[in-house]
Structure formats: structure tokens, C-alpha cells
Symmetry: C2
């Protein structure tokens, strides 16, 4: 029996399309990896940026992650409601919010980071360390010009 066609046509050599596919695969595996933690991809991103920048402004945090202000609201509300971050009114600009991670937030981020380490090692098992560095560099050259 002939090998079934694996050709997906013109999109097969397009970086944009394959980027989406690869991200979708990571995304599905991410969901399973953090099952039971209540975390989602953008929540982890926010925990990460707030941990790295204590007291960071809400809008700045969103900008660093490519999240629009309108979409930050529900994420931040959820992180506060679950006790993972705290939000304070900025002392010199009362329109702005200053975000800080709680000890529980730090612990959860660490837990998820370990799980995601495992996931990346599995999904990138065929990559050498140098290739992983190049891959990350390529991705950052796409995102770096924006964030």
C-alpha cells in the first residue's frame, strides 16, 4: 500500500502557519502539564513578569507580554481572587495599579515552571542545546521587535 500523502500544500513551507501549529501543540501539552493547578498560559506569563518586576504597573506588565489592557482585567482579577498576586493603587498616580506576587503565587509559579521544564524537554527531545538556543533566538527576533 502506498504511503498516504502528507503534503499540506503551499502552507507547508510557511513559517507563519507552522508557528501556529507548533504553538497549538505546545498549548495542548501545556494544558495537560498544569492540570489541577488552575493555571493557564497567560496567567503564568503574568505571574512570571510580576515576579521579575515587583510593583510593576498593570499596563506595563500587559505590554511586556503582548496583552491588551482590556484583556488584562479578567486575568488580574482572577489572579487576585485566587490569592496569587496583590494589587495596590500607585501612590503617586492613583489611576494606576501596582502588582506584586504573593508567596502562594511564587510557589505556584515554581511548581508550574518545573512541570513545563519537563514538557519542553519532551517536546524538544530531538534538539541539541545549540539548536534550542537558536530556536529561542529566532522566536525572540520575531517577538522582540514588538514587546
Amino acid at each position: 500500500m502506498a504511503k498516504p500523502s502528507q503534503d499540506i500544500g503551499v502552507v507547508s513551507n510557511r513559517i507563519g502557519f507552522n508557528l501556529r501549529r507548533a504553538a497549538a501543540i505546545f498549548s495542548a501539552d501545556f494544558t495537560h502539564a498544569v492540570e489541577g493547578t488552575g493555571m493557564r498560559q497567560m496567567l503564568i506569563g503574568i505571574l512570571s513578569v510580576v515576579t521579575a518586576n515587583p510593583g510593576v504597573n498593570q499596563g506595563v506588565a500587559g505590554r511586556l507580554l503582548g496583552i491588551k489592557p482590556a484583556n488584562m482585567v479578567a486575568f488580574i482579577t482572577e489572579l487576585i481572587d485566587t490569592g496569587l498576586i496583590v494589587r495596590d493603587v500607585d501612590s503617586i498616580d492613583r489611576r494606576a495599579f501596582s502588582l506584586r506576587v504573593t508567596p502562594r503565587g511564587v510557589a505556584l509559579l515554581n511548581d508550574c515552571t518545573q512541570r513545563l521544564d519537563t514538557l519542553e524537554n519532551e517536546l524538544l527531545a530531538g534538539f541539541t542545546d545549540d539548536e534550542k538556543v537558536s530556536f529561542l533566538d529566532f522566536l525572540n527576533r520575531v517577538t522582540g521587535s514588538v514587546g
Copy 2:
């Protein structure tokens, strides 16, 4: 004045997270690039795979693109309703559908392909040809094991 922190923390060197970011950037630019055509990313993917494999089975087409059967239905319906593909009952397995692209579908795919060429050239302006080949190879090594 000090350079504002650009550090997004532990996720900054994770390929999964940066994959999502890069895909999101491509996705937003994609939307603008094909504005007015009625196309969306997965519709283009389906047009592409059906063009490359005339008469392909609906489920196979979905599998090649990572689209679940349940999610194929609306996509296929839309492509038929807009006259871009046709669907025939498979002559030897009457449960299955055989898909074929119409001339209008071919023309639209070509139009979009050109627009997306331009987009990729812009987004990957800083990449050498060799780097683009490597980038695509990396992505295919993530997706290849699945699709």
C-alpha cells in the same frame, strides 16, 4: 533615567511561551494581510491541503492540519457555502466525504499566498535565507511528530 525593565521573568527563555507570542504576532498581521478576502488561518490551511490533494477525505485533511473532526465541520461548511471547495460522498465509503477545490478556491488561495509572502518577508526581514530554513526546520520538528 534608567532603562525600564524589559524582563518578563522565567517565561522569557521558554520556547513554548515565545512560540505562542510569535504565533500571536503572525496571527494579528495575518488578519490584516487577508482583510476583505473572508479568509482565516485554518480556512487557508484547508484550501492548501485540499488543493495539494484533490479528492482528499475530510478527516484526513483535518488530521494533516491538526484540526479535530468536530471542528472541521464548520470550516468545511463555510468553504462550501462560499463556493471555494466542493464535497462529494465517497463512492466506496458512503460515510466519507471527498473534497475538491474550485477554480475560485484556487484563485483565492493564490491571492492570499501572495499577500502572505509579503507578510513573511516583512516579519522575517532580519533573517537570512539560511536562518529561515533552520527556523522552518525547527518548527517542522515540533509539528512533524504529530501531524
